[in-house]
Structure formats: C-alpha cells, structure tokens
Point group: C2
Chain length 166, copies 2
C-alpha cells in the first residue's frame, strides 16, 4: 500500500524509490537480469500472486524500466525485457546483493557470485572515485547541494556529510 508519493521530493533516492521502493519490484528486475522475460516464469519463480505481478510489470513498463516485446504476433504473446534504463540498475542490485551477502546471509553463504568475464575472477564490485580513481569509503564522502537543489536545508547545517560512514 502506497502511503504517499515521493514524486515531489527533490531527492534522487526518493525519486528512484517512487518506482523501485516496492517489495517485489527489484526482484522482478533481478530476474529480468537473469534473463527471465515471460509472465509465467516470473510468476513461478517469485511465487507472487498473478494480479500483483501484472500490476508490478505494468508499473515497470510505465516507468520505462521494462518494455513489452511481442514474440509471437499470431497468438498475441508478449514478454518483458529490460530497457537501457532498466539495465542501468545493475549497480543498485549489485550494491544491494553485496550488502546482503555481508550483513544478512553472512560470510561463506552467498547464494550467488559474480564472475568478471574480462579477468575471469570471482570478484566483488568496489566503488572508486570517478575523478581520482581511489577506492571510496563512506567516511571520505561529503554531500553537497547539486545544480538541481531547491532546498539546501535537506543537507543540514553546519557540516553535511556521511557521519561515521565506514
């Protein structure tokens, strides 16, 4: 049940949650990354009620994250594939998966791992600075008003930042 719209909050996290902040949505996107495209397969993998799945898929299509693709015109069959906007979600899923590996399922229990085809290693994704290339740590990041800021008080004074972030 949606309790409010985040659409009017001038915050990219809130805007993203406007489409993604619903229990099933990111799992549908996860399965789309695994190559799942058909309604029946989403349904059996997720064990989700059909009406809820239909609504979520429609939301994802309207948000431009999935697109409906006709694969059998004669019988009017279509399935769902990720758009560029949807494919751009892999860092979000990766960050969420790694946090879950570390803090929810615990060491040595990762259900899924990632192989980097380029080097062939089972690897993790690490965040680096786009400017200097150094490994990022939360404690080194300071949050400042961006060009689209309309409410700098969002950042709090006097020293916005990520207090105590590791």
């Amino acid at each position: 049940m949606r309790r409010a719209s985040f659409r009017d909050m001038n915050c990219s996290v809130a805007q993203s949650l406007e489409v993604l902040g619903e229990w099933w949505t990111l799992l549908i996107v996860r399965d789309a990354f695994f190559g799942v495209s058909r309604f029946e397969e989403f349904q059996s993998r997720l064990g989700i009620a059909r009406n809820i799945l239909a609504t979520r898929l429609e939301t994802l299509v309207e948000a431009g994250i999935l697109e409906r693709r006709v694969y059998e015109e004669a019988r009017g069959r279509s399935d769902y594939v990720l758009t560029a906007k949807g494919r751009a979600l892999w860092p979000v899923l990766t960050a969420l998966r790694q946090w879950g590996d570390d803090w929810m399922v615990g060491e040595g229990n990762a259900p899924v791992e990632m192989v980097h085809r380029t080097c062939g290693a089972r690897a993790r994704a690490e965040m680096v600075c786009s400017h200097c290339g150094e490994r990022l740590h939360g404690r080194d990041l300071k949050v400042v008003a961006g060009p689209g800021s309309d409410d700098p008080s969002l950042l709090r004074s006097p020293a916005p930042g990520l207090p105590g972030a590791d």
Copy 2:
C-alpha cells in the same frame, strides 16, 4: 502492507529487501547519513505519519541498522544512529542516487552531489572489479552459484548472466 516474507528466499537481494524494501526505510537511512538522529527531525523532514515512523525506526533497530542512543538520561530521551551494518549501506544509497540522477531527475538536475574529500573533486562513484581493478560494465558480469546456493535453477540454464546489461 507486506504481502509475503522474503526471509526464506535464498537470495541476498531478497534478504536485503526483507528489511529495506519498504517505501520509507531507505529515506530514513538516507537522513541518518545526513546526521539526522531525532524522531522529531525525521518526522518533519519526511512528512511521515508518527506511527509509521515509529514502526519503521523500530524495524531498523531490530534489524541492527540503527541503534537507539540515550542522549539525556534524566529525561529518558534517546535518538537513533547508524550502526556499522547501517553505515555499510552507503554504496546502496549511492548507486540508487546516481541512477535517480541519470534516469529520474535528468542531467543537470541532481539535487545532491558528492565531494570526495581525498581529492576534493565533485565526483561519482564508479564500480570496479575487486580482482583486476578494471571498470565494471554489466555486460561483462556473469552470475554464478555461490557457496550458499541451494537452488542453482535460480540462475537459469544454459547461460546465466546479465543479458544485454550495459
């Protein structure tokens, strides 16, 4: 309204959504990163109903993401601060914010930017491979069963991966 529990799904994304996959939760965590700690301030910033906020804060404390800290014992006042588990969420929030900047609010409209204290630049976080250090692209990632996998069919045969990911 929770429709099902994701706790039994052997997937780190689902396990993470078990605590985080609720509309307000990540915005509370976002504000905690901004240094907000008191109930009243969360409430006024988020415009969230007090009973919902109280429930969400309790969920976050139970999940070990926030901890309650007494700041004025005589009057029994306490506030909420991020634990190590909570601070470890910054890559999730960062990935989500950047996706929102790119695909929801659009170029030049980022409400918030990040300064990397180490180099002083306004920068983005980029994901690199922990093994070879190369910039990661979704298309170069292959998902494989991990040590905790109990259902390799989750990955689908024959070629699990991130089809068409950029």
